[in-house]
């Protein structure tokens, strides 16, 4: 020991950790390659690493009680459905009458449909309490009906919400059936003695969209504005105001907006309008805005009761296009055989899954990632998540089409659906605390399998890890190449400042570009395509202006001679900012960061001026140049959008205006993905392009 110390003492002793860092930086090429490849491999392995779900909260006890929903409830529900489909014009009244016949407290909630508005500073803020435009006429009022059953012996501190969206103008058979299911459960719950939480049944007026109706009601519930809207008193609204009166005997009762405690959970019940001809399928839609998910236990209960008690097939969204892909099937096959080999070595190793299972898991995982990354809620349940209420949408797709079912007899279907909802409500009713026991951060690979945050962080970390290493190595190279003298050191720091300034300017440009739609939105009568072209044109223009402003001598550094390795420092700063951007995004919306990293990391790693590559004319550099060009094309946001859309959905009938529509949907839903694309992805792409075409 003493010997070695004397040896090392002669030359500076370097700590092991630092040594390791230096080692990594010096081998940044290999490290980045290995990191990127292993990141993708880890991502592909996620379906295998998925765990089976389990009910984490003991209090839930799903399915431990016998179902109480009898054929009599169903019989009355069928009556209700027939009444509803029979007379469409008075559907509000019928629903309210049926509700109050169950001794529920019925209230009408009138709301103005909220227009899609883009307010630039609206991201991350809590939903605003009512921006109501003044010139909305009475006819455009939506009317939600809420019935509340008070728990007979409960203290009324908590409540469970059932939501059935329906369009009063045209009650579809599926909607009528979903109302029937909710009614059957509601009529049961109005008589039971075990209820500990109040039950709210919200019949949401979906003529202006399901989401807006539910969110309007929630806004009134959670953040009322306490303003009597003037329109209510005008004459034209009398017809609607009449509805506001309580329908039956209890005319004396208070007819204002009613509330029932803190919401424990919410279930949105829907029935698909088309039958699928195979079997009754239950689709679960859990994704809320910005990739927020409800507590996994809520999905677990529904899945458990659906599969084990009601014999339904429970499904979550899948990327159907992935099923046909050959490479995924081959990969599945390889992994299956690998698993078999492993099992033959040690029977305790059970990581292998069959190829079909793998493909299915991968397809579900991809859709889960895509939907979370999009940041747009997949149903009206998203409105609840904005108020920290766990909610999911359950869409039952029946075997027979609802149209036929109503004309025959929907009894069996209502009984099945009603018992499922009853079980779920009963299970949530058992809950003493709020949902907190199970996961909130997870990706689903099937309705009964999930990948938790600890596992899905790994691919992202592997993808992103090379970035700082490459940035470090570039920095080291740049500082090494300059001979060390007093003047050059000063000059050196100027160089860094210069490239940092450039990167900052480009990011500012990104922010400007993402604000542009706000102004474009003021243009009346514009189609998506024109909007998109104008947007693109304006962005290019602003970039040009920026370029000239930056190129002017005021902003130029004192030593204005072109730098040979200026691109290296620029690249290093670009990569560093991208790394920061991706890491920040992974906190806000992990799935976006993951998809973004898949797209942006390769070009960040291999970007290199084309001129240099072409000059050297070796096979390696030429392939690198073509790779760079191809990646540069792919990563351009609209191109990336079309690619992702094509991969996940369909290439068929894609239009230029689609991108505009997509962007529009992102900002109306306050998706952070929009900010990511504007402020991280686009500037990074622009900088990479700049590096590619750098005049060295």
């Amino acid at each position: 020991m003493a010997e070695s110390e004397t040896v090392t003492a002669t030359k500076p002793r370097v700590r092991r950790f630092v040594r390791f860092g230096i080692f990594l930086i010096s081998h940044s090429n290999y490290v980045s390659f290995i990191g990127f490849v292993s990141g993708i491999v880890a991502l592909l392995l996620l379906p295998i690493l998925a765990k089976n779900t389990y009910i984490s909260e003991n209090a839930l006890m799903p399915g431990s009680a016998n179902n109480m929903l009898s054929t009599q409830h169903v019989f009355h529900a069928t009556e209700f459905v027939n009444d509803l489909t029979g007379s469409v014009s008075e559907s509000h009244k019928i629903i309210a009458q049926y509700m109050s016949a169950l001794e529920a407290e019925v209230t009408y909630h009138k709301f103005h449909p909220q227009l899609n508005q883009f307010s630039p500073l609206h991201f991350f803020t809590s939903p605003d309490s009512g921006i109501v435009s003044k010139n909305i006429s009475c006819s455009s009022l939506g009317i939600n009906i809420a019935g509340i059953i008070r728990a007979p012996r409960g203290d009324g501190k908590e409540s469970i919400v059932l939501v059935t969206p329906y369009n009063p103008r045209r009650v579809g058979p599926g909607e009528a059936l979903s109302l029937g299911i909710a009614y059957s459960v509601f009529s049961l719950l109005s008589r039971v003695t075990w209820l500990a939480k109040d039950v709210i049944w919200l019949v949401a007026d979906s003529q202006y969209g399901e989401y807006s109706a539910v969110s309007a009601w929630l806004r009134e519930y959670q953040a009322p504005a306490f303003r009597e809207v003037d329109i209510d008193n005008s004459e034209t609204c009398n017809a609607i105001n009449e509805l506001g009166q309580n329908p039956s005997s209890d005319r004396k009762l208070y007819s204002g907006f009613r509330r029932a405690g803190t919401m424990a959970a919410a279930l949105v019940i829907k029935v698909a309008e088309q039958g699928n001809r195979h079997e009754d399928i239950l689709n679960i839609y859990p994704e809320a805005s910005n990739g927020q998910m409800p507590n996994l236990d809520l999905i677990n209960i529904v899945n458990y009761l659906g599969v084990h008690k009601r014999g339904l097939r429970v499904k979550v969204n899948k990327m159907l296009s992935l099923f046909g892909s050959r490479w995924l099937n081959t990969l599945g096959g390889i992994l299956e055989s690998l698993g078999q080999i492993a099992r033959s070595l040690n029977p305790q190793w059970k990581f292998g899954i069959s190829a079909t299972e793998y493909v299915e898991g991968a397809a579900t995982l991809a859709s889960s990632l895509y939907l979370q990354g999009l940041g747009v809620p997949t149903g009206p349940h998203g409105a609840f998540r904005d108020y920290q209420v766990d909610a999911i949408t359950l869409e039952i797709s029946p075997k027979v089409s609802p149209d036929k079912m109503i004309s025959r007899s929907p009894n069996e279907f209502i009984l099945r659906g009603g018992r499922l909802i009853e079980g779920v409500v009963r299970s949530i009713n058992n809950l003493l605390e709020k949902f907190h026991q199970s996961f909130f951060l997870y990706l689903l690979t099937s309705s009964s399998k999930f990948v938790s945050v600890g596992v899905y962080m790994i691919p992202f970390a592997l993808l992103v890890a090379p970035l700082p290493i490459v940035a470090g190595s570039l920095y080291a190279e740049a500082s090494k190449s300059t001979p060390s003298s007093e003047v050059v050191v000063k000059h050196n720091s100027w160089k860094w400042l210069n490239s940092a300034r450039k990167v900052l300017a480009i990011h500012l440009w990104g922010a400007v570009v993402s604000l542009l739609p706000y102004f474009l939105y003021q243009i009346p009568n514009s189609t998506p395509t024109t909007n998109f072209t104008v947007w693109g044109f304006l962005s290019a223009l602003s970039l040009l202006i920026l370029y000239f402003v930056l190129g002017s001598p005021i902003f130029e550094s004192p030593t204005s001679q072109p730098e040979k390795d200026e691109w290296a420092s620029l690249k290093s700063v670009t990569i560093a900012t991208t790394f920061i951007g991706l890491s920040l995004m992974s906190v806000i919306n992990f799935a976006t960061a993951e998809i973004g990293a898949l797209l942006i990391v390769p070009i960040c790693l291999i970007a290199r001026p084309l001129k240099l590559d072409i000059q050297s004319r070796s096979f390696r550099t030429l392939t690198r140049a073509t790779c760079n060009l191809a990646l540069g094309l792919i990563v351009f946001p609209p191109a990336a959008f079309f690619l992702v859309k094509g991969a996940f959905e369909d290439f068929y009938g894609i239009n230029v205006g689609d991108y505009w529509n997509w962007v529009e949907s992102l900002w109306t839903w306050n998706s952070a993905t929009y900010l990511y694309v504007g402020i991280v992805h686009l500037p990074c792409w622009a900088l990479c392009m700049h590096i590619l075409f750098h005049p060295c």
Partner: protein, 656 residues
Amino acid sequence: MALASTTTLALSILFLLPFLSSATVEEEFHEELLLKPLPDRKVLAHFHFQTEAPVAEDSFARHHHLFPKSISQLVKKFHIKAMELSFTQGRWNYERWGGLDPISSQNAKPPGVELWAVFDVPQHQVDAFWKNLTHSLSGLFCASINFLESSSSYSAPKWASQSALGSLRYGTLPREAVCTENLTPWLKLLPCRDKAGLSALMDRPSIYRSFYHSQRLHLKASMAPADGLDSGIILEQTLTVVQQPNIQKTDLSFSNEFKIQPSWSLSSIFGRKVNGRCVLAKSSNVYLQVERDLVAQLEKLQKKTATYADNDTGIDVLRGDLGFEVSITPDRVHRELEKSSSILYEYSIKEYNDTEQFDLGLTWKYPVVWSCPLAPLYASRFLIGSGNERGSIAISLKSTELTKGFIVANNVEEKCKLQVNVLQIVPWYIKVYYHTLQLLVDGKPQAATDFIERMSVSPSEDKVSTGVMELVLRFPCEIKSAILNIEFDKGFLHIDEYPPDANQGFDIPSAIISFPDFHAGLQFSDDSISKSPMMSKLQEKSPVLSYTEVLLVPLTTPDFSMPYNVITITCTVFALYFGSLLNVLRRRVGEEERLLKANKAPFLQQVINKLSSRFRGGLSESTQPKQPSSSFITPKLIIKIILVAGLAVVWQFYLK
């Protein structure tokens, strides 16, 4: 010996007799039951037991005949002037079961436990007495009333009771579960327990199946020997139960027509009958109250059906021919003084015994719809906002039919005002900003000072005391709605202050809304009826009182299941500490100094050089990738790794 003792007792009684007669004559016990059909097909049963005991200077040491000794000792020990303890399950439905009558304003209580007490001690001792009292009561009633001991759970409202300024303490436990273990000690205080008399009706399953039940113990002691007149303790025990007669699964009528009210009898509600009175009771009566609006509706109906048949209304009422039929003819019928009056049927159960049981039944003849009188303003309270940071409490008051009537009645006056008192108690972890109090009248924001007559605020102190806000508001009578809104921040608790099931959220106890201008009280002309303690209580002019809902505020809760993380962090800290310590101990300072001397450079320069060379060295290494790789991945290291891996494989396959 026994003889001697009896003679001394007799003698003492002889001596004491004049004193006793000057005070209250003797101990008394009354048992009463009030039954009342409610508009939403339910029945209210209100048991009222009253025990009175005279108080003499030394009477606490003595044995009581009827009065429970534990209570008298409590009164003596803690110098209680007045006290009320209630255990409640369920919510009183102020809209359907009424908000103006004496039962709702005196017996409708917030869920859980509510306790208030007035002490007859100097101000500075009140808290100490309160703390001791909570412990005694919690032992006596098998409840966790002792949680009211800590100063952060009770408060001293100023204006709730004018007479007891400063010596009143008030606390609630909204989460207390009420069950039969609380009822049994309560029944033990009765002279006949639940073995005879009206209390024999208290079948536990049927009581706890009810929609609302509230057991209350009200204690009033007047220790004024100077007066000589009213000195004594009055113990009032009431049990209010709201039940639905015959809940049957087959009774699922979904039709939308008016439903006939379910007929009921005592045996169908409670599953038991009255086997006669408690022999110790001075009076044991059962009353059946028919409400004002119900009487009016029934009379209207009757006029419709039989306009030409002029019946003698007096006989009509007695026979119960009013749209319903009573199974037993009442001993007496009382009518209220006013024009639209309620009717009270009185039954004395003195004559009933085991063979002839008392089983009052009521059968409806045709469907009636009526409503109970509501409080002048319907109060509800709710939370605004979501998330773990902040929110606000809103109390909304909406006018009801009664306010309109009030306007008409007071139309003569120029400016009719409606006084509303609000008492809101908030636990300390809800940090209320009292300056944010916002008042909206009829949907328009108004200056709070225009309507607030008086206001008393005592802000909460962290972990020490609750926040109390008392408001006296005066609204114009034509008010339609008013909303009081006050913002708060959510506080953080220390990890060991969290109660079990902390993730449920935290309760904000009910606010108390009272209307001093209105009086809940029935007015009967009969003098005979006012002898009955319950009826005199019902005729008392007490202000209308209502409680709002209990609110649940989700607070930030730590992940209680993270000992693993804690262990990991602790271990890391320990490792770092011991590692650096060992490093310091192991280092040979002398040798390093010698090395420094050898270099012959100043120390600072040396360090800088070392640092820069280390940095530059790191960079220089990157120029020649071969060299560091050879220094880092030495064959020695590779051999080591292979050895370890081999060991692991061997372990995995062969040694396991």
